[in-house]
């Protein structure tokens, strides 16, 4: 474009050009619409370079919103690559300050070998977007129209760049937002997932906790054992309902109080020392699983307990829990069992002593049967209980039944012994008026079992209205029983004739009371009187003392005891006792 036209026709042409250029510049935004800043700048530069026939056009865009600064330079064909954009930028740096208002309208410099005029224009109202610089070697540069076009172009570019920036900023923000959203979304998803898991876990844990808490609570609440927890200071923290039954304390009464209140006085110091020692050293001075101790009830009564301890550390604090079982019943049962056994041993010893003392082996054998039956049952039951106790396998109900049996049989045995003792007294003779028939009958009853066993037929011919005798009842019983037992033994080997025992009582010629015990047994071989010798016996288990003792007993009553052969078989033993004058039963 020839900008130096002087004539009106030229001027009109010139203006015509200018208007065309302006239209082109105004059309520029349509070309770069929606484009990137770099593309806008390039389009602008190319358009200006061509329209204004410039030697160079340079744009620098300031960095904004994280975008790197852009420096672009275009040269006319002839000046290709005469300088690098940053070299131009460095030259401009010295001239163009921060405020576009203060920029020179025109600058002169050399480009290559030519002097050129340079026009700087700010992009954006305050030059905040950047700067556009147009340079030409023509001397009349810039003409007014050229300045107009440049400034309009700069404005257009500013708007376009502004928009582009806005768009890119929006895009950036949008994508950043998208990214952030996406990131947040994944974060959230992960978090959600974690949360879900955590919730599930927590719920699980809570369920577990609830059910185990529930379980524990139920166990503790309904336990037969007292469950008592204490802290490091020895104060009770928790006590379950069984505590009331076992100790007599309401749980509320003892919470916060020292555990030692559940112990007897003498145990307290011991416990405190032991507990202190444990806290200090961690050394247990007693077994924590099932130790037998003595406890004290609210009413002061002491009783046996079996205690197991557990320790729990929570928040650095130690919690001790004791499971306390009342074993006083068991202890009592064990004591009873031991007592029964001791009793039994004593009974047996007594029996042995009695049996030795009386020197009536066969009598005691008969009585022994009576005593041995219950004793056998007692020993069997006791042994069975001891076996089960040793295996810790004894149910209270079983134990109770066995003990009841033991008690019943013990009573039975002692009743038999009482009967024996009644007629084998160790005291000196205690003479009283007696009805001899009564004593005879008693003894036949006592020997009843033996008589029955030996299939002996008993005949009693007792004279009624006999006078009383002055005698020691027990000693008389002893004499009679010995005679009866001897008769039974003499009948035992009899097989081919009836086994007969006849007991008679009557008054003899000397007005004494006479008792005869006759049998159909083996009888005597030779010298009859030998049978009264101490230690004469023909029996495996006999002592040979029965008749000798009996004779001395009868004689100590002023009577006599003798033996005669029976007819056709057997023996007759007779004894007399002086009658008390003027008495009759």
């Amino acid at each position: 474009m020839d900008v130096h036209a002087r004539d009106p026709a030229d001027r009109i042409k010139q203006l015509q050009h200018c208007i065309n250029d302006l239209i082109s510049v105004l059309a520029l935004p349509a070309m770069w619409s929606g484009g990137e800043p770099s593309r806008i700048v390039q389009t602008l530069l190319d358009a200006l370079l061509r329209m204004l026939q410039l030697d160079l056009v340079y744009v620098r865009l300031k960095e904004t919103g994280g975008q790197t600064p852009i420096e672009i330079v275009r040269f006319a064909q002839s000046q290709q690559d005469i300088a690098q954009p940053h070299e131009i930028g460095e030259i401009l740096e010295g001239w163009l300050g921060a405020n576009p208002q203060e920029w020179p309208l025109l600058m002169r410099n050399t480009l290559g070998d030519r002097d050129i005029s340079i026009v700087p224009l700010g992009l954006g109202l305050q030059g905040e977007i950047g700067v556009i610089v147009a340079g030409s070697g023509r001397s009349d540069f810039p003409q007014q129209t050229e300045r107009l076009i440049l400034s309009v172009a700069a404005n257009q570019a500013s708007i376009g760049l502004q928009e582009a920036r806005l768009r890119s900023e929006q895009k950036r923000v949008a994508s950043e937002l998208d990214q952030r959203v996406a990131q947040r979304t994944t974060e959230l998803a992960v978090a959600n997932e974690e949360l879900r898991k955590e919730i599930a876990n927590r719920k699980h844990a809570e369920d577990d906790l609830r059910s185990s808490e529930e379980k524990h609570r139920v166990i503790v609440e309904t336990a037969n054992d007292a469950v008592v927890s204490m802290d490091e200071t020895g104060a009770i923290l928790i006590a379950n309902p069984a505590t009331r039954r076992i100790f007599g304390y309401d749980p509320i009464e003892i919470i916060g109080k020292p555990l030692t209140m559940l112990m007897p006085e003498m145990m307290r110091k011991l416990h405190e020392n032991g507990f202190k020692r444990y806290l200090a050293t961690g050394k247990r001075h007693l077994n924590w699983q099932g130790i037998e101790l003595t406890a004290q009830r609210k009413d002061g009564q002491e009783f046996a307990v079996e205690v197991s301890f557990g320790e729990l550390t929570s928040d650095g604090h130690k919690l001790f829990t004791g499971f306390i079982r009342d074993i006083s019943e068991r202890k009592r049962a064990e004591d009873q069992l031991r007592a029964s056994e001791r009793n039994l041993q004593m009974t047996q010893a007594e029996l042995a002593r009695v049996s030795r003392l009386t020197a009536m082996g066969e009598l005691t054998a008969s009585i022994a049967h009576e005593v041995n039956q219950p004793l056998t049952a007692v020993i069997n039951n006791g042994s069975a209980c001891l076996r089960l106790l040793a295996n810790r396998n004894l149910e209270p109900e079983v134990l109770r039944r066995a003990l009841e049996g033991i008690v019943a049989d013990g009573t039975r045995a002692s009743a038999v012994l009482a009967r024996i003792r009644a007629f084998i007294k160790k005291e000196p003779a205690d003479k009283n008026p007696l009805d001899i028939n009564e004593v005879i009958q008693e003894m036949l009853v006592l020997a009843g079992h033996e008589l029955y066993e030996s299939q002996v037929v008993v005949d009693q011919q007792l004279t009624t209205d006999l006078p009383f005798v002055l005698a020691d009842r027990v000693q008389l019983q002893q004499v009679l029983l010995n005679l009866i037992m001897n008769a039974i033994e003499a009948l035992a080997s009899v097989i081919n004739r009836p086994r007969l025992l006849l007991v008679q009582s009557r008054i003899n010629e000397s007005r004494d009371v006479l008792v005869e015990v006759s049998d159909s047994g083996t009888g005597f071989d030779l010298e009859i009187d030998r049978v009264f010798n101490p230690f004469f016996t023909t029996k495996a288990k006999g002592m040979g003392m029965g008749l000798s003792i009996s004779r001395s007993l009868v004689e100590s009553h002023g009577g006599q005891l003798w033996a005669t052969p029976n007819s056709p078989h057997g023996a007759v033993f007779s004894f007399t006792l002086p009658a008390i004058e003027g008495t009759a039963s």
Binding site: H369, Q373, P374, N380, N381, A384, R387, K541
Partner: protein, 208 residues
């Protein structure tokens, strides 16, 4: 095969009976008790090792008479006798008649348990032996009369030729009958066969 062992207790004293049952039960033994010999005899005995704990002084039938009665009925149950007081002649007689033990009441629990254990073991062995004999008996019954003849002669130590002569047959026939008999008896050798025949001739066998 073997059922749980059973201990039969016969004692007229109720306390003794139940205490025996309790004691024996502590070692896991099954106990059935009776108050008289008759009550026990009315009971069908199970096919399992068993023994009898018996009071000597029983009303009605005495313990020793009862033992005799059981023998007469071919009831081979081992007996542990209990008595109220040691009676030496009686215990000697009982032991001679095959009692396992004779315990004086009251006895140590271990003594009773030991005696019962021995008695049950004895019964178990006897039962096993009886079963074995029964099987042998069945095999022996499956022999022909000629095979039995041959076998009894073989066992008596005769040679095939002698047997053939005595029975009036060929030696080869005797050989065949002899090997067939061994096969039927499941005898691995002649020695094995002799042992089997001895068992069959023994106390629980039928051969005489």
């Amino acid at each position: 095969m073997t059922n749980a062992p059973v201990v039969f207790v016969v004692d007229d004293d109720q306390s003794v009976r139940s205490s025996l049952k309790f004691l024996l039960s502590t070692v896991g033994l099954h106990v059935e008790s009776f108050d008289s010999a008759d009550a026990f005899l009315r009971k069908n005995l199970p096919d399992s090792p068993s023994c009898l704990v018996l009071d000597v002084r029983l009303p009605g039938l005495s313990g020793l008479d009862f033992q005799r009665e059981l023998g007469a009925r071919k009831i081979n149950i081992p007996i542990v006798f209990l008595t109220g007081h040691g009676d030496i002649p009686m215990s000697v007689r009982a032991m001679k008649a095959g009692a396992v033990e004779f315990l004086t009441k009251p006895f140590r629990d271990q003594d009773l348990l030991d005696a019962v254990r021995i008695a049950l073991e004895r019964d178990r062995t006897r039962r096993e032996h009886e079963k074995e004999v029964l099987i042998l008996q069945q095999r022996f019954d499956s022999l022909t009369s000629r095979e039995r003849e041959v076998i009894s002669l073989v066992v008596s130590g005769m040679l095939n030729k002698q047997i053939a002569d005595q029975l009036g047959t060929a030696e080869s026939t005797v050989k065949v009958q002899r090997s067939r008999a061994l096969e039927k008896m499941h005898a691995e050798s002649l020695v094995d066969m002799v042992r089997m025949i001895e068992k069959l001739n023994g106390p629980s066998g039928r051969l005489r």
